[in-house]
């Protein structure tokens, strides 16, 4: 028996739960208040004292945000950009990682070093020259134009993570395929990719969430109201209608729900990816 008499252990557990529940309430309350505000009719938004449970909840704000205020459009914009970014990043980063993990050629160290340096460059340092680059390439105010910049931003971290994973795949498997006459591309596509599904899933989730929530770059390069992604749609919407908090939060819930769904579903992969990255650095 390490932990003293039974009654003491029960007390310890009670205190533990009390603290955890207290923290959970504090962390969850702002979300609760956001959802509650989004369910309040317009006239009740400025009620005082504030109430957490709306008196007569309504979905009007959601219908209005989705339809009249373009958020359905913004949702599709965000979704297509995020999906294109995810596909592009997973493909290009896994190819790059495979090249670094399985081949030797002169200059490989320099190339990989360049990728690693990219992990340390703050994204905001690049926003001015990236803006000028996008302008020169004619990619300003274009939804597809967001994708190469999002992929470029995500590719260093993704390559780094996948390379470590590929290196753990036993070389003997490759050799067996070589004996069967398989070329490099088939070994990548039929061996490395199927064996790396967990790592690829981690990269895909990080990339998807990162581009779904991306704000500053889209804010800077997108001008046309119909081309807005959800984050800038929400932020700038708030600017036009300073007091329509019910609509703002209905739109926010629409933007947050997919993130929470992805996170809750894949939280094991996400946690593994995060802690690996942080603990090994």
């Amino acid at each position: 028996m390490i932990a003293g008499p039974r009654s003491r252990r029960v007390t310890v557990a009670g205190v533990r739960y009390a603290l955890l529940i207290g923290a959970a309430v504090v962390l969850a309350l702002p979300f609760g208040y956001m959802v509650s505000t989004s369910l309040k009719a317009h006239t009740l938004l400025l009620e005082y004292p504030p109430r957490l449970i709306p008196k007569s909840p309504t979905l009007d704000n959601y219908a209005q945000a989705w339809g009249a205020n373009n958020f359905g459009r913004y949702f599709l914009n965000s979704a297509s950009v995020a999906i294109a970014t995810t596909v592009g990043t997973v493909l290009l980063a896994s190819m790059m990682a495979y090249g670094f993990a399985r081949f030797r050629f002169p200059g490989k160290g320099v190339l990989f070093g360049t990728v690693v340096v990219g992990l340390t460059i703050p994204t905001m340092l690049l926003i001015i020259p990236q803006f000028l680059l996008a302008k020169n390439l004619g990619l300003l105010d274009s939804l597809p134009g967001l994708v190469p910049f999002y992929v470029g931003t995500q590719i260093a971290f993704s390559t780094f993570l996948l390379r470590a994973f590929f290196e753990q795949i036993p070389m003997e498997l490759d050799e067996a395929m070589i004996i069967d006459g398989a070329g490099a591309w088939r070994r990548y596509w039929n061996l490395a990719i199927p064996l790396s599904k967990p790592a690829l899933a981690t990269v895909a989730i990080f990339t998807f969430l990162g581009s779904w929530d991306e704000f500053v770059w889209a804010l800077t390069v997108i001008n046309d109201v119909s081309k807005r992604t959800l984050p800038i749609g929400i932020a700038l919407f708030q600017g036009q209608h300073g007091t329509s908090w019910g609509l703002v939060f209905a739109a926010s819930v629409i933007a947050v729900v997919p993130v929470i769904a992805v996170y809750v579903t894949f939280q094991r992969q996400l946690v593994a990816g995060l802690t690996n990255g942080a603990l090994k650095s």
């Binding site: 030797r104 947050v256 942080a278």
Partner: protein
């Protein structure tokens, strides 16, 4: 990775397609170059949108950059940097970011570590708590910034209602976002609320690596919970602590979206932080040269501080062990 002479049996260890110098022109050697085919597409994109802009950022900061087509952007040496050193608003923005960092980083670490310790046990509902604590981390900065703007609103704001009507500690509603330090309190509260889940998660992973037997042995020797934490767990999570502190310090100085959306640096530039000020200079006033110089000053400062922390952590760790 090492290039020692191949020993017997090392043949199976070399990468398939690895360069085999004794048989030039063999399929193996050509396969080595095939690696480039895998790397080139991604690497080219990376060079274009990250590498090239990184070089450009430095060059732009040495110019009086004009965005108008056809206009010249003369080289002005370090003039943007000397201007920065004499800019009182920039100085204030660094002070604001420094204060934000110094207040939010220790708070996040204390709360995050506390929650991790509470969760580091066999406990029904453990995963539920972990997922819940992490929710603010995955929620977009835009959404939570607007949410906190609403919570800290002067009239009808929940925080004011709580302080005035429930606790009665202040007589009249506080204009949180309309003054420098109260605005920094609101922005800092958001930073802590959004960040604790992240440090909790990292610390929890580190605590899981502490061998149970060590705790049990210490408990048998009569060590209480606090002493077990200090002498058994802490040495194990020390490297994690170093990483977390460095990453949080970097993140603290780079605070941006919350400030942009909650105060936009106002009123009268009182709550500017380096990145909101940089963004204003670049995309508000189109002064790209000055904006780039501010970015570089911030990056340089952050690198120096992170480097010093790393060096200090290494030094004290060596001193402690040897």
């Amino acid at each position: 990775m090492t290039t020692t002479t191949p020993a017997i049996g090392s043949v199976t260890r070399t990468a398939p397609g690895g360069t085999d110098r004794r048989t030039p022109g063999s399929p193996r050697r050509r396969a080595g170059w095939a690696g480039l085919v895998f790397i080139v597409p991604g690497f080219a994109l990376y060079l274009l949108v990250i590498g090239w802009p990184a070089v450009q950022a430095l060059l732009i900061s040495l110019r009086d950059y004009k965005i108008t087509p056809g206009a010249e952007s003369p080289w002005i040496g370090l003039a943007n940097y000397t201007r920065a050193l004499h800019d009182p608003v920039l100085a204030r923005s660094f002070v604001n970011a420094g204060v934000y960092m110094l207040t939010t980083v220790p708070t996040q670490i204390l709360i995050g570590l506390g929650l991790a310790v509470l969760l580091d046990t066999v406990l029904p509902g453990r995963t539920l708590f972990r997922v819940l604590f992490y929710l603010p981390v995955v929620t977009s900065w835009v959404v939570v910034s607007l949410l906190f703007q609403y919570l800290f609103a002067t009239d009808h704001g929940v925080v004011n209602w709580f302080l005035v009507d429930v606790l009665g500690v202040v007589g009249h509603p506080v204009n949180w976002l309309g003054q420098r330090w109260t605005a920094m309190v609101a922005i800092g509260a958001l930073g802590v609320w959004k960040g604790v889940g992240w440090s909790m998660l990292i610390f929890l992973a580190a605590l899981t690596g502490v061998p149970r037997e060590l705790h049990e042995a210490a408990a048998l020797d009569g060590a209480g919970a606090w002493r077990r934490f200090k002498h058994v767990s802490m040495p194990f999570i020390r490297p994690t602590m170093v990483t977390v502190v460095i990453l949080l310090v970097i993140g603290g100085f780079n605070v941006f979206t919350s400030v942009l959306l909650m105060t936009n640096g106002g009123p009268l530039d009182q709550t500017q932080v380096p990145l909101t000020y940089m963004y204003r200079q670049a995309f508000g006033y189109l002064d790209f040269g000055y904006g780039s110089a501010i970015s570089f000053l911030l990056t340089g400062l952050v690198l120096v501080i992170a480097g010093l922390q790393y060096w200090w952590a290494r030094r004290t760790a060596d001193g402690g062990v040897k």
